[in-house]
């Protein structure tokens, strides 16, 4: 019943912001925290001993971001497999170098996606994108539900020195670059 109400609210928000696939959002909300733990250097990215999972959104997508926040909390209950985490909801406009983030997840935005990519590159952190197209902008990871769940990865950002994924992840992702999708 709770889930039905949540979905209704999310759908209600769509009328005022971007349109999001709820299933995809949930899939991403459940898988991305796991993927960030596949980074062998996750320990370097902890802030005050915690994983800061920063979700950036357009002002209109606040509720979506909040719902994702709640979904993650509901699923992970404060810990990503042993690591304490904190979800940090930040508007695209407020994103700056002082923003704390161990990982960043970007919802849709027409103009600030480049800013997120730069932020992630600068901090050396993983940048997840709701929309796979944003990977061309410079974000690292996205997830698409096709016949099965498919992970996409921006090949250009693969060699960011501060990120080192387990090899098997690289075997199962599909790579995209600026030239193809």
């Amino acid at each position: 019943m709770k889930k039905t109400i949540l979905f209704f609210l999310i759908f209600a928000n769509f009328a005022y912001g971007y349109s999001y696939d709820d299933l995809l959002l949930k899939a991403q909300a459940s898988i991305f925290p796991k993927i960030l733990l596949l980074d062998k250097k996750i320990g370097d990215k902890l802030i005050e001993g915690r994983v800061i999972y920063t979700i950036v959104y357009e002002k209109n997508d606040y509720n979506t971001a909040l719902e994702i926040n709640k979904f993650i909390d509901a699923n992970y209950n404060g810990h990503f497999n042993g690591y304490a985490y904190k979800i940090n909801l930040v508007e695209f406009s407020n994103l700056s170098s002082s923003t704390q983030a161990s990982v960043i997840y970007a919802l849709n935005s027409d103009k600030d996606m480049k800013k997120v990519a730069d932020f992630a590159r600068e901090k050396g952190i993983i940048a997840f994108s709701y929309d796979v197209k944003n990977l061309k902008t410079g974000l690292l990871f996205s997830l698409v539900l096709e016949k099965s769940t498919v992970l996409y990865m921006n090949k250009e950002n693969l060699y960011i020195q501060k990120i080192n994924f387990v090899d098997s992840l690289l075997q199962m992702v599909k790579f995209i670059d600026k030239d193809n999708s």
Partner: protein, 649 residues
């Protein structure tokens, strides 16, 4: 069978078979070991393959489990199934709940000997278990590998067998010269030089051939030398054989054919006769003039005999021994002629005079003749001995004399005596000797008897003479001494034992007598009876014995006194105790006046010397009365007491 053995005995075959067997064994061992190792290796390789697949896909499976992507797991499993060797892939979650289980068609057929690899799936970038991956890998590859390996091994074995056959043929070819050399050596003879093959070969065969060739030359040289030596030896042996043959049949002193020659001639003679000529007392010639003189006379005598019969081709002169010659008649003359020849020969020889260092020596001969060729030597010899005994110059063997039977009888008695001694059949019998004054037994004479197994008692007259000839006499005396001393040890009577001069001269016998006298303590009871005639002939020796016995306390009697030419002078010196008057004087004493005179004289003589007299052969009362009348001290005879097995106690 012979060929089969030959093949087996062939050195090359043995070498090849040995190497083949050893190699085969080594190959089999290597094959068995390598098969085990290779099979294990193949197994491990296949297992490693399966393990590698599992280790390869495990991170992906782990990631998919981690990211909760079962579709991807199924997809991955399907991709794996494209490998024909993978029979199934099973993925379980951390609670062993199946996430995916993909199986191939082959899996259904059975997986008994397949490889099953199970791996714990950990969360990526963590050690936390999130599932299990089970992979079943087909053993098809393993079986194929093993099969290939076995095929290759059999191929290798086959190649080895072929190689060994070739090797065997090669070894046989290498050693074949040895067989050829052996065949050529088979007919080798030192007389014939042989061409030894392979002399020019520059290898071991060549060395053997050259060595054999050298050996052949040395053997040939040695054989020639040996042949020369053998020829020389053969000549020498022939010479020696002739010499020995001559020595065997020819007497070296006289040059006459000898005894062996005569044996041969007798065998070759169908009907003939024989004379044996013995030179009388030839020993005296030797002793007096020396052996050289004796030999000289023998030579001259033989020459004269040769001359006497040189013209008669039927008479052959032989020398049998030192002083014995023979005339063998190879054709039988008339009996008269034969006897005449013998008698003429005796006369002619008696007339012969032999000169030696100015000494004139004449000889006499005794001749024994046999008018039969059958056992001629024996018969002539018997005739010769008879002639000597009868003191005749010539005697012809007469079948009627039965001399042969006597000889046989004597030999039988010798056997019987030996058996009697062995089986303790010789015993003393005791005849009492009475004192003529008291008519009581004064002593006993121990008389020898042979008691046969059936109890028959044999008189000593039958065997004592033969015993003397066969030298058993001393044995009998010893037995008599031993048993008599033993018998009288605890009986209070004197006893007398007869001794021959031969016994008294025998040191061993004297020791035996002394020992037995002491052993049974009978020195003061025993009386030794010595034959008068023998005692006189060997006076010195008998005197010595008597004095020795007297010292011990024994007494001496002269037996058969009056039978010979009694020498009173000697008797005086001998210190005797008794005179036993000869039985021939006693047995007719009651009627024979002459005998009475002689006995009277003897008794008188004895009484003067304080010697006791004993009359033997007292066989009736008249004689006994006469003996008493003539004052003979003691009497002995069948009238008074027969010899008995036992005595009065």
């Amino acid at each position: 069978m012979y060929i089969k053995n030959k093949i087996i005995n062939s050195l090359s075959t043995k070498i090849v078979i040995s190497i083949g067997v050893v190699s085969l064994l080594i190959t089999l061992i290597i094959f068995s070991v390598s098969r085990k190792i290779t099979k294990e290796a193949f197994y491990n390789v296949e297992l490693e393959k399966a393990d590698l697949i599992v280790r390869t896909i495990e991170p992906l499976i782990a990631l998919n489990i981690y990211l909760d992507m079962p579709d991807n797991i199924a997809q991955l499993s399907q991709q794996l199934m494209e490998n024909p060797y993978i029979l199934s892939v099973k993925v379980l979650d951390e609670n062993n709940k199946t996430i995916n289980n993909t199986k191939s068609k082959e899996y259904q057929k059975g997986i008994e000997e397949s490889f099953v690899v199970e791996k714990i799936v950990n969360q990526p970038n963590s050690t936390k278990k999130i599932g299990t991956l089970v992979l079943v890998y087909s053993n098809k590859g393993y079986i194929e590998l093993v099969s290939k390996y076995i095929n290759l091994t059999f191929l290798l074995l086959f190649a080895l067998v072929v190689l060994f056959i070739l090797f065997g043929l090669y070894v046989k070819k290498l050693l074949s010269p040895l067989v050829k050399i052996a065949k050529s050596l088979k007919y080798y003879s030192p007389e014939k030089e042989m061409d030894i093959p392979f002399l020019s070969q520059n290898n071991e065969i060549g060395l053997i051939s050259n060595a054999l060739n050298g050996m052949q030359q040395k053997i040939s040289e040695y054989s020639k030398k040996q042949k020369n030596i053998n020829n020389y030896l053969e000549e020498k042996v022939n010479e020696k054989t002739l010499e020995l043959r001559e020595q065997l049949y020819i007497d070296t002193l006289t040059g006459l054919p000898n005894r062996y020659s005569m044996f041969n001639d007798i065998l070759e003679t169908s009907d003939g006769a024989l004379l044996i000529i013995n030179i009388d007392d030839f020993k005296e010639i030797n002793d007096f003039f020396g052996h050289i003189a004796g030999d000289s006379i023998l030579k001259k005598f033989s020459n004269r005999l040769k001359n006497m019969f040189k013209e008669n081709q039927y008479i052959r002169l032989k020398r049998l021994s030192g002083d014995e010659f023979a005339l063998l008649f190879v054709q039988k003359p008339s009996l008269e002629g034969f006897i005449k020849i013998a008698e003429k020969l005796i006369n002619d020889i008696e007339k012969m005079i032999f000169l030696y260092k100015k000494n004139e020596i004449s000889i006499r001969v005794t001749i024994g003749g046999a008018y039969q060729i059958d056992r001629a030597l024996e018969k002539a010899d018997i005739a010769l001995k008879s002639a000597k005994r009868e003191r005749k110059s010539f005697l012809l063997y007469d079948e009627k004399l039965n001399i042969e039977e006597q000889y046989k009888d004597n030999m039988e008695w010798v056997k019987k005596l030996k058996k009697a001694i062995e089986q303790d059949m010789i015993v003393p019998y005791f005849q009492p000797v009475f004192d003529n004054k008291s008519d009581k037994i004064a002593s006993y004479e121990c008389l020898i008897r042979l008691v046969e197994s059936d109890g028959n008692v044999v008189s000593p007259y039958l065997f004592l003479t033969i015993a003397k000839k066969s030298r058993l006499y001393s044995e009998l005396t010893k037995i008599m001494i031993e048993k008599s001393c033993q018998h009288f040890e605890h009986i209070d009577y004197d006893f007398s034992v007869n001794l021959s001069v031969e016994d008294m001269l025998n040191k061993d016998m004297v020791e035996h007598i002394k020992q037995k006298i002491k052993e049974h303590n009978v020195a003061n009871k025993i009386i030794f009876e010595i034959l008068e005639s023998e005692g006189i002939e060997n006076y010195e020796e008998v005197s010595l014995f008597i004095s020795e016995m007297k010292k011990l306390g024994c007494r001496i009697a002269i037996d058969d006194f009056g039978s010979g030419y009694s020498n009173f002078e000697h008797l005086l010196k001998l210190d005797i105790d008794y005179i036993k008057i000869d039985g021939t004087l006693i047995k007719n004493l009651d009627k024979d006046a002459n005998a009475q005179v002689v006995v009277e004289t003897i008794v008188d003589f004895a009484q003067r010397l304080n010697i006791l007299t004993v009359a033997e052969f007292v066989h009736n009362e008249a004689v006994f009365m006469k003996v008493k009348e003539l004052n003979v001290s003691r009497s002995q005879g069948f009238f008074l007491g027969m010899p008995e097995e036992n005595t009065e106690k």
